[in-house]
């Protein structure tokens, strides 16, 4: 059973990134259950999880949001690679938060990044997929937690 605290850990990892990197906190919208295949934005940072839980957690954000985020971070490089690095960094922060809170129970992979593709989500019995909208300024990204 996925616990609220586990979900909160991933959410906090994401919102903390905005707090620290852009000095402007992100808020979350109302979470909901994923139905059908996952919808993604242009850039997606993914971490695979095994051990006590199996599945993936990914952060997917539109290019516009990442552009503003980079501007807030005083970055002048808005290239494709920089965008990829940025979502990778968000995934890395989520991963760090999870390691801190879950310890050795969770085996967390090195973050990977895809752009414009749907991450492959393992389909296991009991897999629960939650989508948490991440609102920052006028933009909205998604945190997807798909764990069994």
């Amino acid at each position: 059973m996925l616990y609220e605290q586990e979900l909160k850990t991933f959410v906090e990892g994401t919102t903390n990134f905005f707090e620290v990197a852009a000095q402007q906190p992100a808020s979350i919208g109302s979470p909901y259950l994923m139905e059908g295949s996952p919808s993604v934005h242009e850039y997606t940072g993914i971490i695979n999880i095994s051990g006590k839980r199996e599945g993936v957690v990914y952060f997917t954000a539109p290019k516009a949001m990442l552009t503003v985020l980079l501007m807030k971070m005083q970055e002048n490089d808005f290239s494709h690679e920089t965008m990829r690095d940025l979502v990778g960094e968000v995934a890395n922060t989520i991963s760090g938060n999870a390691r801190r809170d879950f310890g050795r129970d969770f085996v967390i992979s090195v973050p990977s990044v895809v752009s414009g593709e749907k991450p492959s989500v393992p389909n296991r019995p009991g897999m629960r997929s939650f989508i948490i909208p991440i609102n920052w300024r006028s933009h909205s990204a998604k945190l997807v937690v798909a764990l069994a």
Partner: protein, 720 residues
């Protein structure tokens, strides 16, 4: 006796023997020293006595020589000097022998006596210092007057010496012999003593070797024991330590403690400091009181064990990665008794996190199994088609809940709006579940409703408040899937002859084939159902409501078979809600009815009929009716209207409050009433169909709802 006691005794015996042998050796050495001193004196005396033996003869001979010289008038100076020298040495050495304190020999005494007798005759001879001769031309050299006297004295001394030299010599020889024997005896004693000393030394050396060997063996055993203890403390999975009378941890503890408490500074640490910050203050206080009790002489260990407040302690620790983790520790205490009472308290700490979590999982699993059993038993009394229809409806409703959640929201108002929508959907699902007596589903939806209620009370809503809701929603969906699976299993178990289409239509038992088909998840909610199927469900619900609320009433239904399919869902929802209201608010408790001279068995009547303008549903109970004042008070209490507005309301406006969202006259929330969601849903559903709803009541006698619906478009109707 214990090993330590035996070892101790051996050590004491060995030390005693060693001390005794050392003392013996000391005595031997002292005695040997004294013997050696005596021997040395004896040997010196012997040497003197040996050399003195020759003197009497020599003195006698020198006196002869002096006489001869004097007779022949030869030079006598040298002879006199030799005599003087001999006498002097003899006298000195004899005195020295005599001066030796412990020399108490009769021979010596006799020799001294004889020598003293020599003195009168020999002293004048050796004292002579004149010229013994005078020379003259006539007679040549002759004795002088002094010479003559000297000669006479020499002659007398010579005669005396001739008589006494041998006795003196004999005494001296005898003295020497005596001294030699004494020396021999002393030497023999010394040898014996030395032998004893050597033996004692050998024994001492042997004892020392034995002691060393024993000690080495014991040290090796102690070292082995220490290593074994260290290995045990290093390997054992429990934490062990001793507490002293000041409740401080001793210097030895097992390694497991380090892992359990993520620290290693246990030596001298107080038990209170160990738990400080890990457990609530109240628990810590109780634990310290308990520890103090353990030191009491009258404390009964088994009794103390039964009241151990640290039997299962939940603590939150750093997980080593900067985060926190929860562990469950079990503390056990054993008193270590000494001759004067409790010496220490042995504390063992076990990490029982896995066991506790496993027990919880087992408990959850058992609860789940029980719930499944209850669910299965409940399902056996539900018409399969109704069950599947409900599952479809519930799933559709929950998907709608998810759709509501999915709507973008950022402000408090947007989040709050979601809650209202969620309430309506959930309440409807719960109503149907209750009607079918599917308690596990109804209770889960009720719990979700509770969470929504809690959210409503919050001053400012955010997405974080919805995290538990979505988890609960997912859990509910999973439960519905389980119920669907169970329904399919039930079908398989029953294995009725339902495979024959002929028996399907006539059988009064569960139409298994139909269930088997229907139990599979339906892609869409069935468009048409007959309300007639709901009759037993409503009866069942009425029975449950009567039981839950300690009411007695009879449900009478007619005309429900005439409900056209397009209205079936709405009529069903309305009936469920109104039946709940009647059971909770309308029908009085039997004793109240009796007091009001009413039949203790209440009546709830449902009539559906076709009218010239369409259809009419009448729902009536012969209960307490609705007091307008009570409605107004409840509305004011719920802050739906102000007191002024309430005062200005007429009866018609007051009765309309029933259909306001959030209105309920019930104070608390139960499974069946109190949320203020229900009649507003009923009214909305009726309005949505183009119908009307009205209520009439007489306090103390009845409440009647009339629902008028327009003619239905029966072209889309098909009976399942």
């Amino acid at each position: 006796m214990s090993l330590a006691g035996t070892v101790r005794r051996r050590q004491l015996v060995t030390a005693g023997i060693g001390t005794a042998l050392t003392l013996v050796m000391g005595a031997v050495l002292i005695m040997g020293f004294r013997l050696a001193t005596t021997m040395r004196a004896n040997i010196t005396a012997l040497q003197s006595a040996s050399s003195l033996q020759n003197y009497p003869e020599e003195i006698s001979h020198q006196l002869n020589t002096l006489r001869d010289r004097l007779e022949v008038r030869a030079y006598s100076g040298q002879a006199l000097a030799d005599l003087q020298n001999s006498v002097k040495h003899f006298d000195q050495e004899l005195r020295q022998i005599n001066a030796a304190g412990d020399m108490d020999s009769p021979q010596l005494q006799r020799a001294l006596l004889l020598w003293h007798q020599y003195a009168p005759v020999i002293d004048p001879v050796i004292a002579f210092s004149g010229q013994p001769y005078v020379d003259s031309d006539s007679s040549g050299s002759s004795l002088s007057r002094e010479g003559r006297q000297h000669y006479a004295e020499v002659k007398r001394a010579q005669l005396f010496a001739a008589d006494n030299a041998r006795p003196l010599q004999t005494q001296l020889a005898s003295l020497a012999g005596s001294l030699q024997r004494a020396s021999s005896d002393a030497a023999a004693q010394l040898r014996t003593l030395l032998l004893a000393g050597v033996l004692a030394a050998l024994v001492l050396a042997a004892a020392a070797v034995y002691f060393q060997v024993t000690r080495a063996r014991h040290e090796r055993a102690a070292r082995d024991a220490q290593e074994q203890t260290r290995d045990i403390l290093k390997t054992v999975r429990e934490g062990f330590f001793l507490l002293d009378a000041n409740y401080r941890i001793g210097s030895v503890w097992s390694e497991a403690l380090t892992r359990m408490f993520s620290r290693s500074d246990f030596a001298g640490l107080s038990f209170e400091d160990l738990l400080q910050g890990l457990v609530p203050a109240a628990t810590l206080t109780t634990a310290m009181k308990y520890i103090k009790l353990l030191w009491g002489d009258r404390a009964h260990e088994n009794l103390m064990k039964s009241i151990n407040p640290l039997g299962q302690l939940e603590i939150t620790m750093d997980n080593g990665h900067g985060g926190k983790e929860t562990r469950f520790l079990q503390f056990d205490f054993h008193r270590v008794m000494g001759p004067e009472g409790v010496r220490h308290v042995l504390c063992s700490v076990g990490d029982i996190t896995s066991s506790v979590l496993l027990a919880r999982e087992l408990h959850d699993s058992q609860e789940n199994a029980n719930q499944q059993l209850d669910m299965m038993l409940g399902m056996m009394h539900v018409d399969p088609l109704q069950l599947v229809s409900f599952l479809d409806t519930a799933e559709t409703g929950l998907k709608l809940v998810n759709t509501i959640l999915r709507e973008p929201a950022r402000t408090d108002a947007e989040f709050r709006k979601k809650l209202t929508g969620l309430f309506r959907e959930l309440h409807s699902i719960k109503g149907e579940a209750s009607a079918l007596n599917l308690k596990s589903i109804a209770s889960r939806v009720h719990a979700l409703e509770d969470m929504v209620s809690e959210c409503k009370k919050r001053a400012e809503l955010s997405g974080n408040d919805f995290l538990p809701l979505v988890l609960k929603l997912d859990e509910l969906l999973a439960h519905l899937r389980n119920v669907r699976e169970m329904a399919a299993r039930l079908t398989a178990i029953k294995d009725t002859p339902a495979a024959h289409p002929d028996t399907l239509s006539t059988s009064t038992t569960m139409p298994a084939a139909k269930l088997a088909v229907a139990a599979a998840p339906a892609p869409e909610r069935p468009a048409v159902r007959s309300v007639e199927d709901l009759t037993p469900a409503l009866q069942s619900m009425a029975e449950r409501l009567a039981q839950d609320h300690a009411k007695r009433f009879r449900l009478s239904m007619s005309g429900l078979a005439e409900v056209p399919a397009p209205y079936s869902a709405t009529i069903k929802d309305c009936l469920i809600q109104m039946l709940r209201n009647a059971a909770v608010h309308g029908i009085e408790a039997p004793d109240v009815r009796r007091a009001n001279t009413k039949d203790t068995l209440g009546v709830v009547r449902v009539d559906f009929r076709k009218t010239s303008e369409g259809y009419e549903l009448v729902f009536e109970d012969d209960g307490a009716g609705i007091a307008p004042e009570a409605l107004r008070s409840a509305a004011v209490r719920k802050q739906l209207i102000t007191e002024d507005e309430a005062a200005a309301m007429d009866t018609r406006a007051t009765m309309a409050l029933i259909f306001r969202p959030g209105f309920s006259t019930q104070e608390g929330v139960s499974m069946d009433a109190g949320r203020g969601v229900g009649m507003d849903v009923v009214a909305r559903s009726v309005y949505a169909l183009g119908g009307k709803i009205g209520v009439s009541t007489h306090p103390g006698r009845f409440t009647r709802f009339k629902i008028a619906l327009p003619p239905a478009d029966v072209s889309s109707t098909a009976v399942a």
